[in-house]
C-alpha cells in the first residue's frame, strides 16, 4: 500500500467525497445553466413592456446566483479535490499527473468565468444594456467550457478509451467513448437546474402576476431538459462497458451485500427523481402563482436526489476500479495484481502498518484498514459487521480467496495468514463469535484437507466441518 488509507468511522471516506461532490454537482450545474438563464432572460426582458420590473427581479436572481455559486459552488469544488486526495491519493495523483495542463486550463477558464460574473454583477447599473447581454452570454460560454474540460477527466475514469498507463494517450483519454453523451446529459441537466433555481428565487415574489410569468418562463427550461436527459442517457448507456451493464442487470434482487447491486438502486433513484421533477413542474405550470417556496425547495431537493442517483451510478459503474482496468478502488494497480504478487504476505508490500503479531487481531485490523477501509466501515455505511453476519471462519477465508469473483471487489492481497487474521478480526466484531486468528487458520486448513480427500471420504466432509466448527467453539471457550 503506497499511501496511508483515511479511516473515517461510520461513514467511510467514500461517502465524505460523495456528500461534498453531490452538493458541488448540483451547484456547478446551476452555475452554468444559470448563466444561460441570465443571458436569455436579459434578451427576454428587453422584449417585454415591463422590462425594468423583470430586470429588478433578475438582479435578485443574480445576487442569489452569485453568492450561492461562488461560496458553495467554488469551495465545494475545491472540497472534492481535498476529499478525493484523502480517499484515493493514488487515483488523484494519476489524474493530476496525467491531466495537469487540462486542470491548469480548467483553472484559467474558471478564473475568467468568475471574473466575468463579477463584472456583470458589479457593473449592473453602469454597464450598457448591450454590454450586459454580452457579459451574460460570455459568462455562459466560458462556464460551459469549464464543464467541457472537467467532463473529459470525469468520463475518462469509467471509459478510458485507448489510453493506457504506458501509452499516455491523452487525446484518447480525454475524448473517450463516454465524453460526448455525458457532455450532452450534463448540458441538459444544467438547463433543468437553472429553471428550478429561477423558480426558487421567483417563489419569493409577492407580486402574483409577475411571479406567474417568471415561473412559467422558468418551467420552459425544466420540461424540455427533463425530456432530453433520458434520450442522452440512452446514448450514454450504449457507451458503458459490458461489466457495468452486467453489474446493473444482476441488481434487481437482493439487498446489502447480496445480489442487489447498489448501481441498480441508484439508477432508479435518478430516474424516479427526474420523473417526479417533470410531474411537479407540470403541476406547478398549471397554476404558476401557487408556487410556494417550500415547493420550490422541494423541487431543488428532487434535483439533488437525482444528482445523487446519477453520480452514485457513475461511481458504482466503475466497480471494482477507480480508473477502469488500471487501478482498483483500494489503490491496487492492476499490473501488480498477478497471482504471484497477490499471494505474497500483505505486509511485505505495504508501508503503513505498525509492527503486529502475525495472526493477531491487530494484524487483521491493519489488513482491514489498509485494504478494505477505502470502501467499507465496520459498523456504518457498507458496514462489514453486517456484511459478514453469516460468515463462519472457514467460509470467511474462502470468501476472501475469491473476492474478485463478486464482480465488485478487487482481489485480496495477501496469504492465508492475512486472510485468517482478517476473518478473525471481522468475526470478532461480534463478541459472541470472537475467534483467534490462529484458530481460523487451523479450521481453514482442516477444511481444505477434507476437501482434497478422495471421493469416498466425501460423506465425512460434513462431519469434519462440524467437528472443526466445534473445535472453534472449544477454542473460544478456552480463550475465555
Amino acid at each position: 500500500m503506497n499511501y496511508p488509507v483515511w479511516n473515517v468511522p461510520g461513514i467511510g471516506a467514500g461517502l465524505v467525497v460523495a456528500i461534498i461532490a453531490t452538493i458541488h454537482v448540483l451547484i456547478s450545474h446551476f452555475a452554468i445553466g444559470g448563466g444561460a438563464f441570465l443571458a436569455v432572460a436579459e434578451f427576454w426582458s428587453d422584449r417585454q413592456a415591463d422590462g425594468e420590473r423583470i430586470r429588478a427581479w433578475l438582479h435578485k436572481f443574480a445576487t442569489f446566483f452569485l453568492v450561492f455559486t461562488t461560496v458553495f459552488g467554488a469551495v465545494t469544488g475545491v472540497g472534492i479535490w481535498f476529499s478525493i486526495q484523502l480517499a484515493s491519493p493514488e487515483a488523484t495523483s494519476l489524474l493530476i499527473h496525467q491531466f495537469v495542463f487540462a486542470w491548469a486550463t480548467e483553472w484559467i477558464v474558471f478564473l475568467a468565468e468568475l471574473s466575468v460574473l463579477y463584472l456583470y454583477y458589479y457593473g449592473w447599473k453602469t454597464n450598457s444594456r448591450s454590454f450586459q447581454r454580452f457579459l451574460a452570454a460570455a459568462y455562459f460560454v466560458i462556464a460551459w467550457f469549464s464543464l467541457f474540460v472537467i467532463n473529459g477527466i470525469l468520463t475518462f475514469m469509467l471509459t478510458p478509451g485507448s489510453w493506457t498507463l504506458q501509452n499516455h494517450d491523452i487525446a484518447g483519454a480525454f475524448f473517450n467513448p463516454g465524453f460526448w453523451p455525458a457532455l450532452f446529459i450534463r448540458t441538459a441537466v444544467m438547463m433543468l437546474i437553472a429553471g428550478l433555481g429561477a423558480m426558487l428565487v421567483a417563489s419569493r415574489l409577492h407580486d402574483d402576476a409577475l411571479k406567474a410569468r417568471i415561473v412559467s418562463f422558468s418551467a420552459k427550461w425544466v420540461i424540455p431538459a427533463a425530456l432530453l436527459v433520458p434520450l442522452f442517457g440512452y446514448w450514454y448507456w450504449s457507451t458503458l462497458p459490458g461489466s457495468s451493464i452486467d453489474l446493473f442487470q444482476s441488481g434487481a434482487t437482493g439487498v446489502g451485500g447480496g445480489k442487489m447491486a447498489s448501481i441498480n438502486r441508484f439508477f432508479w433513484l435518478s430516474v424516479i427523481s427526474g420523473g417526479l421533477i417533470m410531474v411537479s413542474t407540470m403541476v406547478i405550470a398549471l397554476r404558476p402563482k401557487a408556487l410556494h417556496t417550500s415547493a420550490a425547495v422541494a423541487l431543488m431537493l428532487l434535483a439533488l436526489f437525482g444528482v445523487v442517483g446519477a453520480e452514485f451510478f457513475r461511481e458504482m459503474a466503475r466497480k471494482p476500479y477507480v480508473i477502469k482496468d488500471t487501478l482498483y478502488s483500494n489503490a491496487l494497480w492492476v499490473h501488480d495484481a498477478t497471482p504471484e504478487q497477490l499471494a505474497q504476505p500483505y505486509f511485505s508490500a505495504s508501508r503503513w502498518e505498525p509492527e503486529t503479531q502475525p495472526l493477531s487481531l491487530e494484524h487483521g485490523e491493519w489488513v482491514y484498514r489498509l485494504q478494505c477501509a477505502t470502501c467499507h466501515t465496520l459498523n456504518g455505511y457498507r458496514g462489514l459487521k453486517g456484511y459478514t453476519a453469516q460468515w463462519t471462519p472457514v467460509s470467511g477465508v474462502r470468501f476472501l480467496e475469491t473476492l474478485e469473483a463478486q464482480g465488485v471487489m478487487p482481489p485480496f492481497q495477501g496469504n492465508v495468514d492475512d486472510r485468517a487474521a482478517l476473518t478473525s478480526f471481522l468475526l470478532s466484531l461480534d463478541p459472541e463469535r470472537a475467534i483467534a486468528g490462529s484458530d481460523v487458520k487451523i479450521l481453514y486448513e482442516q477444511a481444505q484437507e477434507a476437501q482434497q480427500a478422495p471421493q469416498a471420504a466425501l460423506p465425512f466432509v460434513g462431519s469434519l466441518l462440524l467437528a472443526a466448527e466445534r473445535g472453534a467453539q472449544g477454542a473460544k471457550e478456552g480463550l475465555r
Binding site: 439487498v255 447480496g258 432508479w268 411537479s280 410556494h292 415547493a295 436526489f305 453486517g386 453476519a389
Partner: protein
C-alpha cells in the same frame, strides 16, 4: 342553448358563478366539465371543499404535515399490497427472505415500506406537536384533536405489528419484550398479552394475529378515522394561531386550499417519495437471521426508536416502582386527550401559557429519553 338543456329531463342548470371557472365552452375540457355538471350537480360539494383556506405566515409550512401523512399512508398501502403478494404468514422469515433475495425489486419495495413507516411516525410527531403548540386543539376542535390522537396511536400500533412480521431475531425479541411490558399491567395485562400473543409466549401463532391486525384491522380503522378527521377539518376550516388572529384584517393573508395550497404540496410529497428511494438506496432494510424461539436474547435488543421513550422511561422506575412508572406513562396520552378541555381560552390565558410550558418540557423530555434509549 340553455333552452335546449331545459328540455332534457333531469338536466341541471349550472349556476352563473360557476360558469366563470369552467373555461371556454368551445374547448374540450370546458365541454366535458359542463356535460358532467349537467348530469351530476355536485356544486354544493364543490362549494363545501372550496371554502377551506390556509392562513399564510412565516410558519405556515406546518400545515403541510397532515397532507404529508396522507401521502406516506398512501405509500404504505401501495407497497404493503405489493409485499402481501409474496408474504406468507405460515413461513414468515422464508417468505421475506424470498422477497429480499429473489423477487425483482422486492428488497427495494420492502426498504421503501420500512423508511416510509419511519418517516410517517416522525411526521405524526411533527403534526402532533405543531398542532399542540399552535393550540389548534381548542374549542371547537376538540373532537378533531382526539381523532388525531387516535390516529397517532394506530400508527404506533401499525409500526409495532409490522415489526414482527419478518420474524427475524431483532423483531422477535423486541416484540417479546414489548408484550411482556404489557403483561405487567394490573388487572387486564395478562389477558391482553395472551390475546396479543395467542399463547404464553410469542410464537408463530402471534404472527397470524399481528398479520390480521396489520393488513386488515388497522388499515380499515385508519382509513375510517382519517375520513372523519378530514371531514371535521373541512367543516371547521383550518385553525389560526393567536398571533395570526391578532393581526389587522388587511395583514391576514390566506391561500385557498383548493388548489393553491394543494398544488404547492404536491412537489413536497413527491420529494418525500424520492427521499424514500434515496434512503432505501443508501441504507436498504436488511433481514436478520431467522428468529430462534429458544435462543437467548442477544444484547442490546430495543424497540424501534418511536417506542423508545416509554420503554426507556420505565427504566427510571426500578423494581416495585415499575407500576408507578406505567401509571406515569399512561398519564401522558390521557393528558393529551383532556388538554382541549383544560386549555380553552382564546387568546391563550395564563393557564394556556402554562400548558404550552408543560408541552415544551414534555417535548424536551421525550427527545432526551429517546436519545438516552438510543445511545444506551
Amino acid at each position: 342553448m340553455a333552452k335546449k338543456q331545459a328540455e332534457i329531463p333531469d338536466f341541471a342548470p349550472i349556476p352563473e358563478e360557476l360558469e366563470a371557472h369552467l373555461g371556454e365552452p368551445s374547448t374540450v375540457t370546458g365541454k366535458a366539465a359542463r356535460a358532467l355538471l349537467h348530469r351530476y350537480p355536485v356544486w354544493p360539494v364543490l362549494k363545501f371543499f372550496a371554502h377551506k383556506r390556509v392562513p399564510q405566515y412565516r410558519h405556515s409550512y406546518w400545515y403541510m404535515m397532515g397532507g404529508m401523512l396522507l401521502f406516506f399512508f398512501g405509500i404504505q398501502v401501495v407497497t404493503g399490497i405489493l409485499l402481501m403478494v409474496y408474504y406468507q404468514p405460515g413461513s414468515p422469515w422464508a417468505s421475506v427472505n424470498y422477497i429480499v433475495n429473489e423477487v425483482p425489486y422486492g428488497a427495494l419495495i420492502r426498504s421503501i415500506h420500512h423508511w416510509s413507516a419511519n418517516l410517517m411516525v416522525l411526521t405524526v410527531f411533527l403534526h402532533l406537536f405543531s398542532t399542540f403548540f399552535m393550540k389548534a386543539y381548542r374549542r371547537p376542535r376538540e373532537l378533531t384533536w382526539i381523532t388525531g390522537l387516535g390516529l397517532a396511536g394506530l400508527t404506533m400500533l401499525f409500526g409495532f405489528s409490522g415489526y414482527l412480521l419478518p420474524w427475524d431475531e431483532l423483531a422477535f425479541f423486541a416484540v417479546r419484550i414489548g408484550i411482556s411490558e404489557l403483561e405487567k399491567l394490573p388487572l387486564l395485562g395478562e389477558w391482553a398479552a395472551g390475546i396479543a400473543r395467542g399463547g404464553s409466549d410469542v410464537s408463530q401463532e402471534t404472527i397470524g394475529r399481528f398479520y390480521a391486525l396489520h393488513v386488515m384491522v388497522l388499515p380499515l380503522s385508519v382509513m375510517g378515522l382519517i375520513g372523519l378527521h378530514l371531514l371535521l377539518v373541512q367543516i371547521q376550516g383550518v385553525s389560526e394561531p393567536d398571533g395570526f388572529r391578532k393581526l389587522p384584517a388587511s395583514q391576514r393573508k390566506y391561500r385557498n386550499f383548493f388548489s393553491d395550497f394543494l398544488i404547492a404540496e404536491i412537489p413536497v410529497w413527491l420529494m418525500m417519495g424520492a427521499l424514500l428511494v434515496l434512503l432505501s438506496a443508501l441504507m436498504p432494510r436488511e433481514l436478520g437471521t431467522e428468529a430462534d424461539v429458544f435462543a437467548a436474547a442477544p444484547d442490546g435488543i430495543k424497540p424501534e426508536w418511536y417506542l423508545l421513550a416509554p420503554y426507556q422511561g420505565l427504566k427510571l422506575f426500578p423494581g416495585s416502582l415499575e407500576l408507578l412508572g406505567m401509571l406515569v406513562m399512561g398519564l401522558v396520552p390521557m393528558a393529551l386527550v383532556v388538554v382541549p378541555f383544560i386549555d380553552r381560552q382564546i387568546p391563550a390565558d395564563a393557564r394556556g401559557r402554562l400548558v404550552t410550558k408543560i408541552g415544551v418540557l414534555g417535548l424536551i423530555g421525550f427527545v432526551l429519553i429517546t436519545a438516552w434509549g438510543f445511545f444506551s
